[in-house]
């Protein structure tokens, strides 16, 4: 195996690792949106998806693109996501707050389904 082939292999491994980690974060964000109790807490889970999840996937694609114009475009996409997603999140949160959506402020700790069956 030549040195170049080893380099490509290392790049592919790093890229796949980044992509897999990003997918874990995106999946966790989606699960959090389903599992958390109210609007504001679900918004936090969605935040995981558009910060680390999206950025890790963009970085892995940059590694695949190499040192090309495509990589510069992907970098621009990542930069725009980084700056605009919190602005969108704030706009949604602010709209909900002004419309009178009351956040849940008490402890949310439902019983495990197994224990709930015992109660019934």
């Amino acid at each position: 195996m030549t040195l170049i082939e080893i380099g490509i292999l290392v790049r592919d491994i790093a890229s796949i690792a980044l992509m897999a980690t990003g997918l874990v974060f995106v999946l966790a964000g989606a699960l959090g949106v389903l599992r958390l109790p109210d609007f504001f807490t679900r918004m936090h889970a969605a935040g995981v998806t558009d910060t680390l999840g999206a950025e890790l996937i963009v970085f892995s694609l940059i590694l695949q693109a190499g040192f090309t114009l495509l990589a510069a475009k992907l970098l621009l996409v990542g930069f725009l996501l980084f700056l605009t997603s919190p602005t969108a999140t704030h706009a949604v949160a602010n709209a909900a707050h002004r419309a009178g959506e009351k956040p849940l402020l008490s402890r949310f700790h439902p019983k495990h389904p197994r224990d709930r069956e015992g109660d019934a």
Binding site: G29, G47, V48, T51, L69, K73, H90, N94, H112
Partner: protein, 162 residues
């Protein structure tokens, strides 16, 4: 003037990155579009240090590198909270005092709070932000004060030490 030059250079670079053309005709069309955009911006009088913050990159880049580390840490914290077999969260709404010399500094601070998972800026007030947090772990006053000081220093450099 220097902000206008910076804006023109950044516009030209973005035009070229997005198109990737190298023919003289197309490049001159790109240059023409940059000139038209600059004329519009000058006529609207929106070129100042807030709209063209490119000369603060030497301090903004270290700030966003530090923020990236904080984002990674709180991402893992939210991940754990969302994936625990038994969800146990106590959401909090806190008022965070803000010390900022400029609108850009306030904006970057509010954006950084929202960018960090687990905390979202809900309302902007005169000298404070209303912040919603997923659990009380995210509402440490020291953490917010440090982020505020770093954002302020990154944008204006007036605060010498924290």
């Amino acid at each position: 003037m220097i902000y206008g030059t910076g804006l023109a250079v950044v516009l030209a670079v973005i035009w070229w990155v997005l198109s990737g053309y190298d023919k003289t005709l197309l490049l001159s069309l790109g240059a023409a579009s940059v000139v038209v955009t600059m004329l519009l911006a000058i006529r609207m009088r929106i070129i100042d240090r807030e709209t063209a913050p490119f000369f603060r990159l030497p301090t903004l880049i270290p700030f966003y590198t530090w923020l990236g580390g904080e984002i990674a840490k709180s991402n893992v914290a939210v991940l754990k909270a969302a994936l625990k077999p038994e969800i146990d969260v106590t959401p909090r709404l806190v008022r965070v005092p803000v010390e900022a010399d400029s609108d850009l500094s306030r904006c970057i601070f509010a954006n950084s709070i929202t960018l960090t998972p687990g905390t979202v800026t809900v309302e902007i007030e005169e000298d404070a932000f209303l912040v919603h947090a997923l659990t009380p772990d995210f509402t440490g006053a020291d953490g917010f004060a440090e982020m505020n000081a770093r954002a302020d220093r990154a944008t204006d450099g007036r605060r010498k030490s924290s």
